[in-house]
Amino acid sequence: MSTLSQNINSDVHEEHEHHEENWVTKYLFTTDHKMIGKQFLITGLVWALIGGALSLIFRLQLGFPDMNLDWLRPILGEWITDSGKIDPNFYLALVTMHGTIMVFFVLTAGLSGTFSNFLIPLQIGARDMASGFMNALSYWLFFISSVIMLSSLFIETGPAAGGWVVYPPLSALPQAVPGSQLGMTLWLIAMVFFIASTLIGGINYIATIINMRTKGLSFNKLPLTIWAFFLTAIIGLLSFPVLFAAALLLVFDRSFGTSFYLSEIYIGGEALPNVGGSAVLYQHLFWFLGHPEVYIVLLPALGITSEIIATNARKPIFGYKAMIGSMLGITVLSFVVWAHHMFVSGMNPFLGSIFMFLTLIIAVPSAIKVFNYLTTLWKGNLQFTTAMLFSIGLVSFFISGGLTGIFLGNAALDIQLHDTYFVVAHFHLVMGSASFFGMMAGIYHWFPKMYGRMMDEKLGYLHFWLTFVGVYLVFFPMHYIGIAGFPRRYYSFTNFDAFSSFTDLNTFISIAAILTMSAQFIFVFNFFYSMYRGRKAPLNPWKSTTLEWTTPRVPGHGNWPGKVPVVYRWPYDYSKPGAEDDFIPQTVPYSETKSSNLPHENELIELEEEINREDEKVTEPQN
């Protein structure tokens, strides 16, 4: 292992010595992991704004059903009907695109893509990813996917409109809804590129973490961020191919007359020839990815907050091993709970019972994580950086959204709650908002490393509080209408006596959503302003222990100008009794901290000397 990593490292390093960069190799077709991370970030943020804007359009429809929307005609054209309303078909298309964009393009590519790329080499002490080329390829496949998905918003029949889960037969039959014509084809093509991008990226993350850790950095000294990225990549690698299979069969059904998902259908005045297929089969395949996907979205956010909370509480993360254990548990269990999305799909109720058991078990590792976060805060010395605030916000959403999962995982309760706004409230808190807050926390925390400058803290506070309060105002009330049974993906709620009295609440939610979205522009301003004019960042602004803060203010190719530092200790030596400072970086050997060492750590000193000798031997020829 170590020889391999040495070779890779030295290759990159040499390249670094003598090469010139032009605009294209630096910003566009770069193979530098930091730049690729930033590419993912910027693309993800653009997608977040688009996805958010779409949600505002359909929130206008729900909150102000009588409003005249003619003023949207310049953007939406024919999708605004003559009476100034959104076309119901387009409403569904908006919901579908909003969901697809948020889940895949923002919170998978934008979150995991950004931080896995940016942080893995920096935190494990590698000069770059295992394969820079594959890394660039991963971004550009994502970019192609983005272009295709975006273009589907502008075609005449509109984008896919079957919900982000695109269940057939609705998504398979062009005559069922206009979105299932060209829009659905583009959706499928875009997702194929997206899956390829995720797989290539994931293989790279895994290879890098396994092979290229710097000397001394064993798995039990890895920051929790890296653990999270590692497990996320594994989940992705195992589940995305199944989505690919599901999509492929759907392509066959759509274009080549097969009947994987179609059976006994009479539509548009004619009976179709398909028999023997199963619509429920698609649901099984989809959710085999779909459920792990929520953890693909969430785990990186949890990893990021673990890091940020420990740093800003000036306290070791409580239960490091338990945190890893619970992430491992979540990883394994996430593959065996998928059918909890299908309790009332018509599948065998006995199967439902089994998935109910498995689902409620997965709540245990989640509970462990929450308690560990709380204990980490307890008796800490808390400094509220913006990143810290967002991390605390994440924990709050994780709790409130996670607890409603206990309702939904219970098949008997899911009968009533399935596909109502209770579900919308649940997943927006636990998956949407929690992961979004993780992403924000990560940006505020690592911005100094990305751009060498600090973001403005006051604006950050304002952004946090408006968003935190806003998210609760938007999504908490949705529980109420969900309990009352209001179904999701409804264009209007006045057709039913049972649901027609929620106008006030829906208006309230929409206003809160508009305000919350507006608050995001504070962030956009802060981000771009600070990129150029922010205060110059000190080398280690948060007094953190991990390796990325040992690089220069703006690390170049290869990350460390000299030797890659050696790691001696775990990343959470904050406020260690007897230590001089309230943090000890991972690069400080135990031999230099005799006053704070615990008994078993003194025994490690000998080992350290061995590592040092070896380190000198190997690195000598290079410099």
Binding site: Y266, S400, D497
Partner: protein, 357 residues
């Protein structure tokens, strides 16, 4: 003109905000002291407390005042069981929600940065980890177990004497079929669907002769009812909120759900004080343009009224005599008999005789 003014106004405000921000940050740089124990740290800690109090206050107040608005009265035998499970879960998760949030928002105040203090170096405690693995596990096991029992009972096989109603979803409405006097639904085949025979009833099956279709679901109070559910184009889902009932309608794969209604429509009118109360079925699986308007009315009658209503319904064949042609020759007589066509014809001919006299 007005738009222009608004635009200019907004621009002005933005410029002013930008200048204020610029001044603020320049002062910040000039002062240069980066003190962690800053006022911001205090303000943020206090805001968490404020959020805790106002947030919980609003939640409790709103839930209390609007409780009835958001809790639907329940009208099926298994309903109260589901509801009680719901409120138990609400109680348990509610306690967890409140306790964890009190800690989460009070810790920032209690432990905010103080440069004279060190955080407590406390990396691990296996007893605690064990405790909060086991406690959630036990609590969840109890919830799972009661959920499991309720679920198995609700999804158990329907009693043999259940009233059978077939509900079929299509874009964008529902159709309802009853088995008629023989209690057996006739076969169907999607290939023989046409504008009138929307179910694709197969008239070579003798069970179909007395089947009748309706535009709403009518069921008796206090008797088990079995919904046989299917769809003929895309997925739909039958959701009857008052009965705590939901089941997808899947093309090519019939599903079902049985339950016992406990309150007639007029009972509900009394209970809710709403004279126009109607039970409704809504579609909860995205199915296209009209998804939001796929409504089906359900009427629950007293058993005696129900029998009367049932007997007064005319069979499909009776109402669409053309379809007699689809009945195989050898059954035609039987079909005329069972579907009630014969009776009707006799009736009219009797009438004719009478009027002639």
């Amino acid at each position: 003109m007005f738009n222009l003014l608004v635009g200019a106004g907004v621009l002005l405000v933005l410029v002013i905000l930008y200048l204020l921000f610029r001044i603020q940050s320049l002062i910040g740089i000039a002062k240069k002291s980066k003190n962690i124990e800053s006022t911001s740290n205090n303000v943020n800690a206090n805001l968490f407390i404020l959020f805790l109090i106002v947030g919980f206050g609003a939640m409790f107040y709103y839930s209390y005042v609007n409780f009835d608005k958001y809790t639907l009265p329940v009208a099926s035998e298994h309903g109260p069981r589901v509801d009680s499970l719901f409120w138990w879960t609400m109680g348990i998760t509610g306690v967890a929600f409140i306790l964890t949030h009190i800690l989460l928002f009070i810790f920032p105040k209690m432990y905010k940065y103080d440069k004279n203090r060190r955080a407590f170096y406390y990396p691990v405690n296996n007893k605690l980890e064990f405790l909060w693995t086991v406690v959630p596990f036990v609590v969840l096991s109890i919830l799972i177990f009661s959920g499991f029992r309720a679920w198995t009972d609700i999804t158990a096989k329907a009693p043999d004497d259940a009233e059978v109603v077939e509900i079929m979803g299509y874009q964008f409405a529902w159709s309802v079929r009853y088995p008629g006097n023989d209690g057996k639904l006739g076969n169907y085949d999607f290939r023989i669907i046409d504008a009138t025979n929307e179910f694709g009833i197969d008239f070579s099956d003798a069970n179909s002769f007395d089947d009748f279709t309706t535009r709403k679901v009518v069921i008796p109070k206090g008797k088990p009812v079995l919904f046989k559910i299917r769809a003929r184009d895309v997925l739909h889902s039958v959701f009857a909120p008052h009965f705590r009932l939901k089941m997808d309608a899947v093309p090519g794969m019939p599903t079902s759900f049985w339950f016992t209604p406990t309150k007639s429509t007029s009972d509900m009118r009394q209970e809710t004080g709403n004279e126009n109360f109607k039970y409704e079925i809504a579609c909860t699986e995205i199915c296209g343009r009209g998804h939001f308007s796929m409504k089906l009315e359900v009427e629950v009658l007293e058993p005696a009224q129900y029998e009367e209503w049932y007997a007064s319904q005319k069979s499909f064949l009776d109402r669409n005599e053309d379809y007699l042609a689809k009945v195989p020759e050898k059954y035609r007589d039987l079909a005329m008999e069972v579907s009630g066509i014969k009776d009707r014809e006799k009736g009219t001919s009797d009438n004719n005789v009478n009027s002639a006299l």
